[in-house]
């Protein structure tokens, strides 16, 4: 006789279970169970991972959910697909009528889901147990009702034995009820964690759930330390008096033959005109599009499109392409920019349909990277849309088109990470708030991967002021490690949407999202992909919004510009790129990109594609960057790791830079089949902790050895391929991004006012703070005008003389409603005076004060101080009777603001200044100390000792940089880059991380016009009490 656990709950019960589904399955295998039932709380969140793990382990997965009812919990097991669909719809209904994260299912509602499901009565928290504790007759009536609704054979009285005295008394009552009602018994363990040690973690999660410390949790915690798992033999022994309860687990499990392989999901059909099939219609619209794209529609393109269409027909994907085309068409018709990214750019059909903007025929891109017979999965088309309201319009269009229960966003499972784990676990252990602050700052994985090393972790904990010898601290460290990657709650994916033929809520339960008018499914994008559910990514890209707005601004000034037909070889653009003058330019504005541009010297579009792809963790760790740049500069010869790889690597001078090249190398040099290459592709893009890459590496080594590739070449190729697991771009994706990079560079070069204005209006985005963008605009001769109630709109605008007028949105503390009122009232007529402004706009005290402080009221005939003097009186309303009396002009007794005061007010009120850079005020003193402005660094020879100073605008500590910190210092002449060695960083961590103004002394390095200072000494400078924001990246 065996036993099957039918009531396990995973960490996807969010703070109620302490183990991931994979760990539960592993434990079930250890105990020799042939099947396992997962019943997560009010959902099937963990079901896909559970299903995958069971399939991998060769045991059967049983799906269900533990529903929350007014009387207690009601575990429901799925018997058939109908039952699964009923359960999903039931959970959806409950969730959609409740607040996020809440929801109670009534028994009447649950009865609707009865068909195809079996219900258990639950453990100690089960509804029957709760009622039995209250009133035996009530419990009996409830069980009777359950049997009536589900049918007598569909309800099992559940018994659990956890070595608890009170539970035994309860079980006696339950057995008696079951005998009276002739209900079968079933034994379960109500498993909530995998290993015995999981109790500790489970206790901590319980405390987090109840917002209580361990010291105060009392009987909320687990009663005993042993695991909930028992072997079949142990279960037989424990239930020796009730053997049928154990036997029934097997017979009941045999009835539950539903698995997630039988979901019944179908992608929607596209409605085609009469007389057309989806395939014929796709051909029609593709060829029509191709004739627009290819002028002339040449034979090579025609052949490629025909090949792709045949493949699409063969794989029955015509509907999918038509639906994505339909979304893109909606965008076009509504004047919304949309551009496909990722591997879709490898498809000429996508290009012809207007989904992507890169010509794959012209660029000789590999279609199979996007779609192949061997992949056996749906293609992935990601659309970039302007972020914000414009993208929301597209999302709502999809909801309207496919129904509120036919489409939903994919979920994003929020898991514990360093900072969140430190804070929440520390709180449970009762650490004081200041210790929690220190822990959450120190236990972040910012730029380092080694925190899972015990000694480093304990070192950090000691730094936070805790005694590492104490048991409490050691337990904290243990739990901090164990809780990593455990689900915390469900979020929403940034743009992944799934749609369904029929009702999506029959496939997976839907929940309300935090954003209005949005629903989210209970599975993340990888789960959906694993189960064959098709996702369309509608991603918001700040740069798309900025480009869109910049084009509108250019057009509104009467000039014409067509994004699709920008001159491809614009010398001004390439000169700017070669000079690394790229602040604000998409994808090539980072410090590392800027350091590469002068060496790479892009001269054509493909160079830009390379530039976009080369500064990625894969190429950097694979040490591909320097060989490529040296070969390009003619400093070293172009050689190939193996003669057979020349056709693959010729275009990138013998160095692989794109994902496709790695796949081809594996196929050519290691004899990978298409399927294995596909496996490699998935491993390269797989973000979950997995050892897939290690397995593939073994296969790669075997393949290379078979082909006689040994020694250094062997290792080089392995390094190339495995390093891409860290992240590298496919060529098509790089090309799509390069298009946007070129467009943004073109706008910066030719329409700078519109470009900067659009950037300022779409923050936050990119690498730099608005203050830096403003300074960069000024360096480029753009006139930036201050915020002024007589001229400023809510958003930044370009004025008739092509100067940039800062928008009211940058006045800190000004509400959007007030800003829009200022704009609207002024359109009626200009403000005559402060009193007039006050009367018409009705700002609150803080708002009018900030406007006065930043000089936004100056055009009402007063300077900042005078305005501040007047507004203090003006905000005391005279009331309706007296407010229209002529204003008494009272002279201000205050002195005007000094230059420094104006600057401080600007930073306080707007986070930036259009006046002189703060470093101007320090320059004389710094000059005497020999500190050089950033712009003069290129005059200094390499190896000389220099001093630079500036505001810290970026701190970056990439994982690939082996602990080095890169700091960008901005002064009135430009930006200086500082490199800090790991040891220096450790010694001066606090100073480096907390100083807004920094003086750095070090050795100048000038490598092919890429200038940086290797730091040897730091000094924090007086910050004028200005809080300059720095963008810190890991």
């Amino acid at each position: 006789m065996t036993y099957i656990e039918l009531h396990a709950c995973s960490a996807f019960s969010f703070l109620e279970g302490a183990s991931n589904p994979e760990a539960l399955v592993q434990e079930a295998v250890r105990f020799g169970y042939p099947a396992l039932g997962l019943l997560d709380r009010d959902g099937v969140y963990g079901a896909p991972r559970f299903y995958r793990a069971c399939r991998g382990a060769g045991i059967r997965s049983i799906v269900g959910a533990e529903l929350t009812t007014p009387d207690g919990r009601l575990p429901v097991l799925v018997e058939s697909r109908t039952g699964y669909q009923n359960l999903c719809r039931l959970i959806t209904s409950t969730k959609l009528r409740s607040e996020k994260g809440a929801g109670i299912t009534s028994l009447d509602d649950a009865a609707d889901a009865a068909s195809g499901t079996i219900c258990l009565t639950g453990g100690r928290d089960g509804a029957l147990a709760c009622l039995l504790r209250r009133d035996r007759d009530e419990a009996r009536a409830w069980l009777d009702r359950l049997q009536h609704l589900w049918g007598p054979d569909q309800v099992y009285v559940e018994l659990q034995r956890h070595f608890a005295r009170d539970q035994e008394a309860l079980n006696q009552g339950l057995v008696e009820l079951a005998r009276v009602q002739k209900a079968p018994l079933v034994a379960t363990n109500g498993v909530r964690h995998a290993a015995a040690s999981g109790r500790v973690l489970h206790d901590v999660l319980t405390c987090i759930h109840h917002k209580i410390t361990l010291d105060k949790a009392g009987r909320l915690l687990n009663r005993y330390a042993d695991g909930d798992w028992n072997s079949p033999e142990a279960m037989r022994r424990i239930f020796a008096d009730l053997p049928e309860a154990v036997e029934n687990t097997v017979s009941l499990a045999a009835r539950l033959d539903f698995t997630l392989s039988d979901l019944g999901y179908r992608f929607p059909d596209y409605p085609v005109p009469a007389g057309e099939t989806m395939v014929s219609y796709l051909r029609k619209v593709t060829h029509a599009g191709a004739r627009q794209r290819y002028r002339p529609y040449h034979e090579k393109a025609r052949r490629q499109i025909e090949y792709e269409l045949n493949m699409i027909e063969k794989l029955d994907l015509a509907g999918y392409f038509l639906i994505v085309w339909d979304i893109v068409r909606f965008c076009r018709e509504n004047d919304l920019l949309a551009q496909g990214r990722g591997s879709a750019a490898n498809s000429a059909v996508c290009y012809s349909l207007g989904i992507t903007a890169v010509d794959p025929v012209g660029m000789d891109l590999l279609f199979e990277r996007f779609l192949s017979e061997e992949r056996g999965e749906w293609p992935d088309i990601d659309l970039d849309l302007p972020s914000g309201d414009r993208r929301e319009r597209v999302i709502q269009h999809v909801y309207e088109r496919y129904g509120r229960r036919g489409a939903a966003m994919t979920a994003n499972v929020i898991t514990y990470r360093g900072r969140s784990a430190a804070r929440e676990v520390g709180k449970v252990f009762g650490f004081p708030p200041e210790t929690l602050d220190r822990l959450s700052k120190l236990l972040v994985t910012w730029g380092e991967t080694g925190l899972h090393d015990e000694s480093l972790l304990l070192h950090r904990i000691r730094e936070a002021g805790l005694q590492i010898g104490s048991r409490r601290t050691r337990q904290f460290a243990r739990i901090w490690r164990e809780i990593q990657n455990l689900p915390r709650h469900l979020g929403q994916h940034t743009g992944g949407m799934i749609i369904c033929q029929g009702r999506l809520d029959s496939v997976v339960p839907l929940e309300p999202a935090r954003m209005p008018d949005r629903t989210v499914v209970q599975w993340d994008k990888d789960d959906c992909a694993d189960l064959g559910i098709i996702k369309v990514d509608l991603l918001g890209l700040g740069m798309m919004a900025a480009i869109h707005e910049a084009l509108e601004l250019v057009r509104s000034s009467g000039r014409q510009i067509d994004l699709a037909h920008l001159p491809q070889d614009d010398p001004k653009v390439y000169a700017m790129l070669q000079a690394a003058d790229t602040v604000g330019v998409f994808q090539v504005e980072s410090r590392a990109q800027m350091a590469t541009l002068p060496r790479l010297k892009p001269r054509c579009f493909y160079d830009l594609v390379v530039e976009v792809a080369i500064i990625r963790p894969g190429p950097i760790v694979g040490e591909m960057v320097h060989p490529y740049l040296s070969r390009r500069a003619g400093l070293e010869p172009v050689v190939y790791p193996h003669p057979s790889l020349e056709p693959i690597l010729k275009r990138t001078l013998g160095v692989p830079l794109f994902q496709e090249q790695l796949l081809r190398i594996a196929m050519v040099a290691a004899d990978f089949t298409g399927g294995q290459a596909e496996e490699l592709r998935r491993a390269l893009g797989f973000k979950r902790p997995d050892d897939a890459m290690r397995k593939i590496e073994t296969k790669l080594r075997e393949g290379l050895a078979r082909n006689g590739i040994e020694g250094k070449t062997h290792e080089t190729l392995i390094k190339y391929i495995t390093s891409f697991a860290l992240y590298g771009f496919p060529e098509s994706h790089a090309a799509s991004f390069a298009l946007l990079a070129y467009a943004s560079a073109y706008l910066k070069a030719h329409f700078p006012a519109a470009f900067y204005t659009a950037l300022l209006n779409n923050q936050p985005m990119g690498f730099y703070h608005p203050a830096t963008l403003v300074k960069d605009a000024q360096h480029h001769g753009q006139r930036v005008r201050c915020i002024d109630v007589q001229y400023s709109d809510w958003r930044c605008t370009v004025e008739s003389d092509r100067s940039i007028r800062l928008g009211l949105m940058y006045a800190r503390g000004l509400r959007q409603g007030t800003g829009l009122r200022i704009e609207a009232e002024r359109r009626q007529c200009a403000y005559a005076s402060l009193a007039d402004f006050q009367r018409r706009v009705r700002p609150n005290r803080n708002e009018i004060t900030v406007l006065a402080r930043i000089g936004a009221l100056n055009s009402l005939g007063m300077r900042r101080r005078e305005a501040l003097w007047q507004v203090e009186k003006a905000h005391r309303f005279a009331g309706p009777l007296l407010e229209r009396l002529p204003e008494e002009k009272e002279p201000s007794p205050l002195h005007d603001m000094t230059r420094v005061e104006r600057m401080i007010s600007d930073y306080e009120g707007t986070g930036m200044t259009i006046g002189p850079h703060p470093m101007v005020l320090k320059r004389r003193a710094l000059g005497k100390r020999g500190v050089l402005p950033a712009a003069q660094l290129h005059q200094v020879r390499t190896g000389r000792r220099v001093q630079v100073a500036g505001t810290v605008i970026v701190r970056q500590r990439p994982m690939t940089a082996k602990g080095f910190l890169f700091v960008s210092l901005e002064d009135e002449t430009g930006i200086a880059n500082v490199i800090v060695r790991p040891k220096m960083f450790d010694e001066h961590r606090l100073l480096l991380m907390s100083s807004s103004f920094l003086l750095v002394e070090g050795i100048l390095q000038n490598q092919e016009d890429v200038i940086s200072v290797r730091a040897e000494r730091f000094e924090a400078l007086d910050s004028f009490e200005i809080g300059v924001s720095s963008h810190d990246f890991g």
């Binding site: 070595f163 915690l221 330390a225 104490s470 048991r471 003097w869 002195h895």
Partner: protein, 424 residues
Amino acid sequence: MAPSRFIAVFSLHAQRLFEAAEMLTPRVEVCPPDGVLLEIPARREQETLDRLTHLLDRDVRIGGASTRTAAILAARMAPGTLVPYHRESRFLAALPVTALKFCMEVEDALFETFAGWGIRTLGEVAALPRASLVARFGEKGAILQRLASGEDVGIRAGYQPEPEFKEEQELEWTLNVLEPLIFLLGGMLTRLCGRLKERGLAAESLCLEFRLDDGSSFRRELRPALPIQEAKILLSLLRLDLQTESPRSGVTGICIQARPAHPRIVQHSLLQPTAPHPEKLAQTLTRLKGILGGENVGSPRVLDTHRPDALHMEEMELASPKGRGKGQRKESDRPQLDRHHPHPEGGSRLALRRIRPPRPTRLCRETIVSCAGPWRTSGDWWTEGLETQAWARDEWDVELTDGVIYRVYWDHRKRQWYVEGMYD
């Protein structure tokens, strides 16, 4: 009339400050939280300063001026300064605006407004047009400006020291026997309680200090279960306490200090059962504590934990001013409802006669007729090493050949069987 001068003094030792001030002048005002203001004739200024310096620590901050405001600000912002007559506004002019917070309650927003105006000193505030300030801040604007000019605004609270309930007596001879000591204590307590009664107060606690002939002292603290006004009762409690623990050598001096509190007045209800008289109960409790030890007498409170028989002994509350009835408990007294593992209702139960503390035992398989269990509990796994509360045990009910059912448990940490009780 001779002009007055004001001396402001601030010190961390407020009590000593008040005592010293009272010695110098009856015109003492309080400057919360840690200062006093002395009003003195101008001619006595230097003398007062000298005496204050002599009486107080060096770390006091003193300032003198012809107005209260200027004296306070001098003491706070420039300790040791004596502002010359009619030079107050000149002295204050250089002080930062934020100094105003020492003279009145000023919200931070107002200082922010001044900062925005570029007004940094009191002199600049004083120079602003008063009418304009009133138009902006109302009456407060005028007050601020007057203060900034060194003028006094408003009336300050006079100083009234807290009464002290203390009796001291030096003995001419050494006392080694309890009875004469009790006799002396009786007299002292009568006087003390008389003073307490005059103010409608009672003694919440009594601190006794006996100076001993070996130069040391012997201290006792008596905390009756409720505030007591009756010297007789206090004396009997003291007697019981001293019988439990007496001075180790002869007594040469006695000091008794009472902490005053309002006596508890309870309206008894006809419907409530009669309880023992609180004072008598207090005596009984004190007697019990003397016999059993303080930690073993009180009200037991069941702790919210899975640890069996876990309780905490709390100080017994004899009567509540709110008139809580017998058997009624505070919400916090009640163990939390166990959401995960509620105690079952119903079912037959046996009474367990507990053995406290549980007794180590050895189990012999042959003597066991039947058994039920194990019932497992463990917890407090996060607690510290030596003081750990962590426990882990397996509990069994065993029927032995003698026909008695015992509750026994195996302590996993001590690796030992214990018998916890017998079922009736």
